[in-house]
């Protein structure tokens, strides 16, 4: 096993393979970070639309709750297949990358809505009453009372979920999106040893995920230390 590894390694880390893996890495990064960014934006809007004292209107509130519950309770692979076939049957011509991106965005939105809800609920009730008594508009409550306090609660866990989505994008290899896991499978089929292919991408994934997670923990420690307003 080890002799074969030493024999294969120079050939595996040749310029073409590295470019191939670099391209795949770029796709993984785009898929996870873009997906998480869009998803978090949608999730925040959902949380605001869901809250009865912000913009919550009964039908939107119900729909948003149903969406959040449903998308958090279905495995990523099943969501991916549903969206994949839905696009296929609708006849729309979209790339596999877009399908995977849509899946990441929709899942990220559901998780972010939950985190943002916790953030909004962290604002104590008397402040809501005070704002109402002082005739603040909903927009003013959101931007001047809720947002400045809740971002400290909301921001750190988002990085933990971002790591989750980086890891979930490996499942997108199932529909043939050219990301790290799929690239490793292709290289493995081309005859490179499984240890080299999967070992390498395990390390690459670790090098992406670990700093992201550490940054989240760093933020959590930093924001938690400051006195609450």
């Amino acid at each position: 096993m080890w002799e074969q590894l030493l024999e294969d390694a120079p050939r595996f880390f040749g310029i073409w393979n590295l470019m191939f893996l670099g391209q795949a890495l770029l796709n993984t990064l785009l898929l996870s970070y873009l997906g998480a960014a869009f998803g978090f934006a949608i999730g925040f809007s959902l949380a605001i639309g869901r809250h009865p004292r912000l913009y919550g209107i009964a039908p939107i509130h119900l729909l948003a709750t149903a969406y959040v519950e449903v998308f958090r309770r279905i495995p990523f692979l099943v969501k991916l297949m549903c969206i994949f076939f839905a696009f296929q049957l609708s006849g729309a011509q979209v790339s596999l990358f877009t399908i995977a991106l849509v899946t990441v965005v929709l899942s990220a939105a559901a998780f972010a809505a939950e985190i943002a809800r916790a953030g909004i609920e962290a604002v104590p009730a008397p402040q809501w009453d005070a704002a109402e008594a002082m005739n603040f508009s909903r927009w003013k409550v959101l931007t001047q009372i809720v947002a400045p306090q809740s971002w400290r609660v909301v921001l750190p866990p988002l990085f933990g979920y971002a790591v989750g989505f980086i890891k979930s994008t490996s499942i997108a290899s199932q529909i043939g999106v050219m990301e790290l896991t799929y690239a490793a499978k292709i290289l493995n089929t081309r005859g490179f040893s499984a240890l080299l292919c999967f070992g390498t991408i395990l390390i690459v994934y670790f090098l992406i995920c670990w700093p992201t997670k550490r940054f989240g923990e760093h933020l959590e420690a930093r924001l938690g230390r400051r006195p609450k307003i």
């Binding site: 290899s173 999967f198 994934y205």
Partner: protein, 224 residues
């Protein structure tokens, strides 16, 4: 383009799919239990173990939390045979999921043990409790109450993660969905039904775990 959803062809396969749900639960329970044992051992090592052992546990947890489960199982399934260890797909998935769950459960249980305060034990000692009494009446109820919600949450995550087994041709819920799909070609119908089964399954598990927690430890867990 127009496409009509036709569920009648898939409806006959629903019992077959539900059979897969049992395998899904089985895989989730096995990986959760093994992961729990790993987590309990590791959390004890982190509290009482020597430095090299603590570093090893830290390394294990950091590595498994920061890499995708799918690639971990690929590694177990395709690399270990080179070293002479041949595993069935089911075993490879079960081992991968257990190791992965073990890392998360180490973190959860470490935090749970840390939440126990010295003062509680001191107070119990001052009241004349014996050591077994302290463990039974003070330590265990506190830890059970602190750990129950994150542990049940991890179990739900475990149920959803089992879908990855389908990629290795294990015939659990998602794996059977692939089978029905290749029989009927009613892809969207099959996968939407499977999505609903997962939804009902995880909701039922959440509800059961919340009721159990309320009954056993008086934990007020929320399902929604």
């Amino acid at each position: 383009m127009n496409y009509n959803l036709i569920y009648s062809q898939v409806a006959g396969h629903i019992p077959y799919l539900l059979g897969g749900a049992i395998l899904t639960l089985e895989l989730a329970v096995i990986s959760f239990m093994v992961g729990w044992a790993i987590g309990l051992t590791n959390a004890s090592i982190l509290h009482f173990g020597p430095r090299p052992a603590r570093l090893a546990v830290r390394g294990y947890v950091t590595f498994f939390i920061n890499t995708p489960l799918l690639v971990q199982i690929f590694f177990i399934f395709f690399v270990l045979p080179d070293a002479g260890i041949l595993l069935s797909p089911y075993a490879a998935v079960a081992i991968g999921m257990s190791l992965n769950a073990g890392a998360y459960l180490t973190e959860i249980q470490r935090a749970g043990f840390q939440s126990l305060r010295r003062e509680e034990i001191d107070a119990a000692t001052a009241m004349g409790f014996s050591v077994p009494q302290i463990v039974w009446y003070v330590v265990l109820p506190h830890i059970a109450k602190a750990l129950y919600p994150p542990l049940s949450n991890q179990f739900i995550i475990q149920v959803m993660t089992t879908s990855i087994a389908a990629i290795f041709a294990v015939e659990e819920l998602t794996g059977r969905a692939y089978n029905v799909n290749s029989l009927t070609f009613r892809s969207l119908e099959v996968f939407s039904i499977v999505a609903i089964i997962y939804l009902v399954l995880t909701l039922a598990c959440s509800l059961a775990l919340a009721l159990l927690g309320r009954w056993l430890f008086r934990v007020k867990a929320r399902v929604f």
